[in-house]
Symmetry: C2
Subunit: 453 residues, 2 copies
């Protein structure tokens, strides 16, 4: 029995440092051994945490001894780097040991030529399996599924099934359900192992079959698959072709990876960074983030063009320049709150045409109420600060305008983007800050021009 949480704690910073020290001091055998003592997940964590030259050195030490499972646990950027260090024969050996879905995802990002070289190292059967998986679109159920499963004809009894399981040597270890098929391979339902175990041998398997189990087509997107597992609390789900024939099965642990990935993507996109930014090298990171910053620069320039229209007002009342960022920033923050809730609710299917209007109305109410509260607060502060009640009234009115605009933009932008097929997580915030900056400066400086000059 492993100690509690040992798996979590096995990769301590000390462990990583010992590996680094051993490498630095040329104690290669020790570095290799320190790594190999860890689980596949642990080895992957170490490879992700050391620097790139150290990682290359470690992979060079391991070569053929590298546990293929480690490859499946690495982040994409790091995996590409590791695969670069291995030759086709090593990668082919690794692919052979993995489940088809894992092998396919190992090969999917490699250049065509290298992939063909690796496939040539495999037996025709192995190659056919992997090529079949690669034929499905990336991020589809067909890619996620494993082909090894227990498939039994509907004519069998419980006893026949048990005997078959005892005799077949190559059944997968992680079986939780048996799948029952008809003569043409069409899925008729599943039998949980636990149910079969509780049933006497002569009972026909059809009596135990759950015919109403969900299944997914091989072309379904992985996000849909994750939704299905989540909604129905599934542990495994059969994958079928367009004629309902059983192709494979998706296991929940692969779905957990997808859920993690999707959640991470939403978070990172909202923050203006791409997937795997953490492990990309400096130049790549500069390029990826630069694109986003360039879009934001445009937004900022638009906002400052608005300010430019009011140079005369600012020259006369310099306090306007001091106070204007407050109005813009409060709008930006309130709008970000709304956008965050909307993006998450859209992703989880909780914001739909059925309740969109109610959501928008609520957000406007929230924006209006918070606008009034902060209008009073900020207005009072400005009156105290500048002894000018008209300036206080202007900043208050601008605050209300901008928080209502933020609520409107914060709801309509993500809903609209989703409607036009654009991922709301990526671009909502840019559009939003454009609106809240422009409206913030326009309302404040415009009202000031009207009432204070």
């Amino acid at each position: 029995m492993s100690a509690d949480g040992e798996a979590l704690d096995e990769v301590t910073p000390e462990r990583v440092r010992r590996v680094e020290d051993a490498l630095a001091e040329g104690r290669n055998a020790e570095a290799k051994q320190l790594l190999e003592e860890l689980s596949a997940v642990g080895q992957a964590a170490v490879l992700e945490q050391v620097s790139e030259p150290q990682r290359d050195a470690l992979v060079g030490l391991l070569k053929r001894d590298l546990d293929p499972e480690v490859l499946t646990e690495l982040d994409d950027e790091v995996r590409d780097d590791v695969l670069d260090q291995l030759d086709s024969k090593d990668i082919a050996a690794a692919a052979r040991e993995l489940e088809t879905d894992d092998a396919a995802s190992l090969l999917e990002d490699l250049p065509e030529a290298e992939r063909r070289e690796i496939l040539a190292e495999l037996t025709p059967d192995e190659r056919a399996e992997i090529e079949k998986a690669l034929a499905y679109p990336e991020d589809s159920a067909g890619r996620m599924m494993q082909r090894s499963l227990v498939r039994v004809p509907q004519s069998w009894t419980v006893g026949q099934v048990i005997d078959y399981c005892r005799e077949a040597g190559d059944l997968p270890e992680d079986v939780y359900d048996l799948f029952v098929v008809d003569g043409s391979g069409r899925l008729k339902g599943s039998v949980p192992l636990g149910r079969m175990l509780r049933t006497k041998r002569p009972v026909p398997i059809t009596e135990l079959v759950d015919p109403d189990i969900p299944s997914v087509p091989a072309t379904a997107d992985q996000a849909e698959v994750a939704h299905l597992f989540r909604d129905q609390n599934l542990v495994s789900c059969p994958v079928v072709d367009d004629k309902g024939r059983l192709l494979g099965v998706i296991m929940v642990d692969d779905v957990v990876d997808v859920i993690d990935e999707e959640a991470e993507e939403d978070l990172l996109k909202m923050g203006g960074v791409g997937h795997d930014d953490m492990h990309a090298n400096t130049v790549r990171t500069v390029r990826l983030r630069g694109v986003w910053l360039a879009v934001n620069l445009l937004t900022a320039v638009i906002a400052s063009l608005v300010i430019g229209q009011f140079e005369g007002a600012i020259e006369k009342i310099v306090a306007l320049a001091v106070l204007m960022p407050i109005v813009a920033s409060m709008g930006g923050n309130a709008g970000t709150q709304t956008v965050t809730v909307a993006v998450r609710a859209l992703a989880m299917g909780e914001l739909t045409p059925a309740n969109a209007l109610r959501f928008i109305v609520k957000e406007i109410a929230v924006g209006g109420l918070n606008g009034m509260i902060f209008a009073l607060l900020m207005g009072a502060a400005v009156v105290l600060w500048y002894h000018d009640w008209r300036l206080g009234a202007v900043i208050g009115a601008a605050m209300i305008c901008n928080l209502v605009a933020a609520a409107l933009a914060g709801t309509l932008i993500p809903i609209g983007l989703q409607k036009f097929g654009v991922d709301p997580a990526v671009s909502s915030t840019v559009f939003l800050t454009t609106v809240t900056d422009v409206i913030g400066f326009l309302a404040f400086l415009g009202l000031a021009t009207l009432f204070l000059l």
Copy 2:
């Protein structure tokens, strides 16, 4: 066999509207029937999407007929609202039908008095089970686990285990592993059902036992449990007390909920909103978001105090007021990118003391490089716009300063907060924008004062 993705599509906006229309037109029996045709997940989705009065009306129609599973699928805010509509007897009836962990989470948020009333409706056995679960801290493994599992003594053979399973009537349906215990109830390991199925009856169960399975103490936090499932691709995990005795088992579908919850929390916190904001009512939302906006107001005021120091410079060169938001906003965006990556990496255990220094250095390099790129771009634009190369140089220099400061703040703030036990997802962005606003305005207006006046 259900149609593909039917579960996903069963709650269409049309369906929700039909329920709403039936309610509005007093066709209560139809509304009830439309709801009851759906799965528990579907019913929960409808209850979340209709307005609060409509929801109360639906719950009033269902009362005792409400499927208890629906309650476990609702978001917290909505569930509290639904429970308010039910009396103690109804809730007790629901609790009785649920797994202990679900029943406990149903009762945990209720006021002490109401909870006691409901528990009094249960049999002493049922009450003891739920009270035992409630004795564990919220969000602990003890709360997540279910107590129904298959526990067999280590002296049995495969045949004895199969016979026991066939005779015992009350075994749970979703069994994937059997747990083997010694005479004092201490966990000795597990046997996957698939492995047992493949083994002949006379084989002793100890020959099949996997003694090295992970287990978690009942007091472990749910985030740790999720990490363990993720790292080891588990489907179920036994929970033990401090003496290693088997208490219950956590199933992967409950872990999927935790993973969703944790991912959602990080995303929402970064956006400055709380968990379940979507379903909170307007007043509650105003209050919750207002707190965050107040903190941000303070930040904005600090930034404008900085600007206030340079009123003289702005009066002389009004272009400074026009351009200063660009410098601040670019810093804010670049810093948000860094903070997002850091928060996610900290949450996933990918950013540790072992690689923190490397991460900081990389971020500073990225900030410096992007700073130079955008300094050139913006500097050139300003020279073209204002025909003043010195103004262009000043904005360029300020841009570089602020993007490097953003990189430093974006790494050090989350790492520091985590070190002091503060959740970096909640507060990193406020601190960050304070830094990028202050440094942005200070660098730009300060350099302008030094070189342009």
